[in-house]
């Protein structure tokens, strides 16, 4: 219990530190939040009114204090640009980002694990000679290029998939749930998810392969062979299971990172997501939105870490003892 409390205090400290850094970082960046509102008819008076409205006429210290006190009450402030609460703006696009990231992570990891195991098993064969360079090449290909190639081929050439957005234009849905589970949404999701998956598959594949190679050297594998078990049973049941643990850890970390979305893929496929939102917010010097969104991402990551640590602590006696 003391451990959980200690970790909790750590977590609060980290969140405070990140919030503070974000607060000052965006304010010391070049660019003014007023720049997004400049027009030929903009007058000095209007600019002052905006400054007052955004609370930028207060001293930095006062602004910081206001930010912290509001934050404790769960209020991330109003976006300068959208004139809406930051939480509402972020929550509007976050689900799309998470769905895209999870879908591509799952595709990438399933493919990576299977292909990695297979390549390890076929070590030294021509399959490996072709497979590894192929994996490395796709892993190194820029995402936007990959996205454009997929778009050009599967969408414009073959017409199998729509080429942008998350739904057919003007389509109506009774609920958000119905929308994201519809065939329409999934067909829009396909290309961006595949693009990201191709980009992500390198890590699990190579990790799985090298783990497999280690595991295949172990005595229990030799034992299994001596028992006369079939190749597939040895690979899938015995070797792969043991090689999977570090891959699972990488997957968990990947989920944490998924909250931040992916600007490049979101842009190429006009996918609504938090990555685009962040880029816009930073470009327009929309301080509340930028710091609020980054803070929410940090919050999710920190909380995930906290949960992981606590669960490890409860599950694994070795970790528990080490902290004593």
């Amino acid at each position: 219990m003391v451990y959980v409390l200690k970790r909790f205090v750590h977590m609060i400290f980290v969140l405070w530190a990140v919030a503070t850094i974000l607060f000052f970082m965006f304010r010391t960046m070049p660019g003014s939040p007023l720049a997004a509102f400049l027009d030929t008819t903009t007058s000095a008076e209007q600019q002052e009114a905006l400054i007052r409205q955004f609370g930028l006429n207060k001293t930095l210290g006062e602004q910081y204090w206001l930010f912290l006190t509001n934050l404790i009450q769960g209020d991330l402030g109003q976006s300068f640009f959208f004139r809406k609460p930051v939480t509402e703006v972020v929550m509007g696009v976050l689900p799309n980002s998470i769905i895209l990231m999870l879908a591509s992570l799952i595709i990438a990891y399933i493919f990576g694990i299977v292909a990695g195991a297979y390549l390890a098993w076929r070590r030294g064969s021509w399959v490996e000679g072709v497979g590894i360079p192929l994996v490395l090449t796709t892993r190194a290909a820029p995402e936007f290029w990959l996205g454009m190639v997929l778009l050009a081929f599967f969408s414009f050439q073959l017409g199998w998939f729509p080429s942008g957005g998350a739904n057919t234009s003007g389509s109506d849905w009774e609920s958000g749930w119905q929308r994201v589970t519809s065939l329409d949404y999934i067909s829009h999701l396909a290309l961006p998810a595949i693009t990201l998956a191709i980009y992500l598959q390198g890590l699990p594949l190579l990790l799985m392969r090298s783990n497999m190679l280690n595991v295949l050297q172990e005595e229990f594998i030799t034992m299994a062979r001596m028992k006369g078990l079939s190749t597939s049973t040895i690979v899938m049941r015995h070797a792969a299971r043991n090689a999977l643990l570090p891959v699972a850890t990488a997957f968990a970390l990947g989920i944490g990172g998924a909250v931040g979305g992916n600007v490049v893929v979101e842009t190429v496929f006009s996918w609504p997501g938090i990555g685009r939102l962040l880029v816009n917010a930073v470009a327009a010097s929309d301080y509340p939105l930028a710091q609020g969104a980054f803070l929410m991402i940090t919050g999710v990551l920190v909380i995930m870490n906290f949960i992981a640590d606590v669960t490890y602590h409860l599950l694994d006696p070795r970790v528990r003892d080490a902290t004593r």
Binding site: T41, A44, S169, S270
Partner: protein
């Protein structure tokens, strides 16, 4: 700095004497510092960046040391807008908008000395004669008289080369001519086919009755009291009616007001509303709503306030007639006020404005339902995805299309594929290479491409606050050294026309004919202008005229 240049001079003189040639450069001032030309970053605006590079190359031939610095927009406007005496040169652009169909908005705000400190005259131009004439054209109601004044203003700007104007880009738009009846697509002067008249009048030919068009910018707000992003205005002008509208010819014409009549002294205008106008919620549009729409901005809509401040009094004459009295005659009033102020329902907005919190104004209000009286009704806005509008069947100009669906598409290249696959049937925002669009149209057969000269323009701004740019001779020489044909062809792929005025040739009535040709150019000409102005080229470096010292370190 000064001693150093003297030393250089001395060395040069000695060198000259040793070589047996007479020393010719004894009457030069300090060498001109390295100049920094700010541009948007290459990735963000490749055409602009390339134009900047070409200009820098041409200026180097004059003996100037020019460095091009690409930066993101926030950083650029921070330097140019908020630190007005720190920059030398910057690339900039003005974009076309319906209300810029009257030249007043640009010629006044860009060059009048009153907007030097905080407004759009960020170059710091000050010319009393210009101020006087630009004020005078504002109060000149007679069109021909006003036109003569505006010609004079274009001459002054040309003479002073306040900016080095570069090009008016050609805007390219396209639509599927098997979906839309091409004869119902309207081209508006300076704005192309993406305009109110096209959207309200375009007729579908077959089963596809939804218009699906694109924008590459996120919408910011859909609010009748908030001048926000450019794309936002496409939507607001469809939902909310105005007393007048800018017609396809660029001139204001009666709209919600069926008649607009001015008194002799041009200081009072009487308008009669159309009969039977309804808000989208079924309430009638009354003169009370008109009064509200033109007075609320004074207290609640800071961005619209300048456009209603000229109104000294509003009088309701009967249930369909109102009279506006002005403080002084205003020639641009129809365009800048009557065709700009959105008519908003008092019964919806008055309670909203009464409940504003501290520091808030009408811009802070985000409505769930947007109630206007325009030809389209608001259906929904899914941020980052689309805006959907439904036709207002009860409107006197009810649209023929079933729905107006504006998609946010960030990927310019993808818009071409979408246009061909039918995911778009009206290309309203295309910033890619126009040649690719023409190729796609040719390959497809049913896509029609329309290009038109923009009201907006690309230019290079000199900072008049900093020598040597305070000298009109120097600016003329630099402008003459720019090869606009090269920029048009290389940076804009030929899809532009040369510019030398803030009034675009698209505004054919106001543009001064031949002003572009009046600007003579060429490196040799530039060199001789500099020489006549006393500037001296010495060891390949351009120097100020004699006695003038460099006042900036960099």
């Amino acid at each position: 700095m000064h001693t150093k240049s003297k030393g250089l001079l001395y060395a040069a003189m000695t060198a000259g004497m040793i070589a047996g040639t007479p020393p010719v450069m004894a009457d030069a001032g300090d060498p001109i510092r390295e100049l920094t030309l700010i541009s948007r970053a290459q990735a963000a605006n490749p055409s602009q960046f390339q134009a900047a590079e070409l200009i820098a190359q041409q200026w180097r031939q004059l003996g100037l040391d020019v460095a091009v610095r690409g930066m993101p927009r926030p950083q650029q406007s921070d330097a140019v807008w908020y630190n007005r005496d720190t920059w030398d040169l910057t690339m900039w652009q003005m974009v076309g908008r319906p209300e810029r169909s009257d030249p007043d908005e640009l010629i006044y705000n860009l060059f009048h000395s009153s907007t030097r400190d905080a407004g759009f005259n960020f170059v710091g131009y000050a010319n009393e004669e210009y101020d006087r004439i630009v004020e005078q054209q504002r109060v000149t109601a007679d069109l021909d008289e006003r036109k003569a004044l505006i010609d004079q203003l274009q001459d002054i700007v040309n003479e002073d080369q306040v900016y080095a104007f570069l090009v008016h880009p050609l805007q390219t738009y396209a639509f599927n001519s098997t979906v839309w009846n091409a004869s119902t697509v309207v081209e508006q002067a300076g704005l192309g086919i993406k305009n109110f008249w096209t959207f309200s009048g375009i007729e579908p030919l077959g089963d596809q009755t939804d218009m699906i068009l694109n924008s590459s910018d996120e919408l910011n707000a859909i609010n009748p009291f908030y001048i926000s992003g450019a794309t936002d205005s496409w939507v607001t002008e469809l939902i909310w009616d105005r007393m007048m509208r800018i017609g396809p010819d660029g001139l204001a014409q009666p709209w919600a007001a069926e008649s607009v009549s001015w008194t002799e002294d041009a200081q009072s205008v009487t308008m009669t509303m159309r009969e039977g106008m309804m808000w989208h919620d079924g309430e009638p549009v009354t003169t009370e709503d008109v009064v509200f729409s033109f007075t609320a901005p004074l207290d609640y809509a800071p961005m619209y306030r300048p456009f209603v401040e000229d109104i000294s009094n509003i009088e309701v004459i009967d249930e369909r007639t109102v009279r506006f009295d002005l403080n002084e005659p205003n020639a641009a009033f129809e365009t800048s006020t009557l065709a700009k102020i959105n008519l908003a329902p008092k019964h919806v907005w008055e309670p909203l404005l009464a409940n504003l919190g501290e520091g808030e104004n009408a811009e802070s209000i985000v409505e769930d339902e947007r109630i206007g009286s325009g030809p389209f009704k608001f259906n929904r806005w899914a941020p980052q995805q689309e805006v959907v509008l439904d036709p207002n069947e009860d409107h006197w100009a009810a649209p023929e299309m079933d729905r107006f669906i504006l998609r946010i598409v960030l990927n310019v290249e993808a818009t071409l594929g979408m246009l061909r696959s039918g995911e778009l049937n009206f290309l309203s925002d295309y910033t890619g290479d126009p040649a690719l669009l023409f190729e796609a149209a040719e390959a497809d057969g049913s896509i029609e491409v329309i290009e038109s000269v923009d009201i907006g323009f690309q230019f290079l701004a000199f900072n008049h606050r900093r020598p040597p740019f305070n000298d009109a001779t120097f600016r003329r020489a630099l402008s003459a050294a720019i090869n606009r044909d090269l920029i048009r062809n290389a940076a804009y792929n030929g899809f532009a026309v040369n510019a030398n005025s803030a009034v675009s040739p698209a505004l054919s009535f106001w543009h001064k004919d031949g002003i572009t040709e009046e600007l003579e150019t060429g490196i040799d000409l530039a060199k001789s202008i500099l020489e006549n102005g006393g500037y001296v080229l010495e060891d390949g470096t351009l120097h100020y005229p004699m006695g003038q010292t460099e006042q900036f370190d960099n």
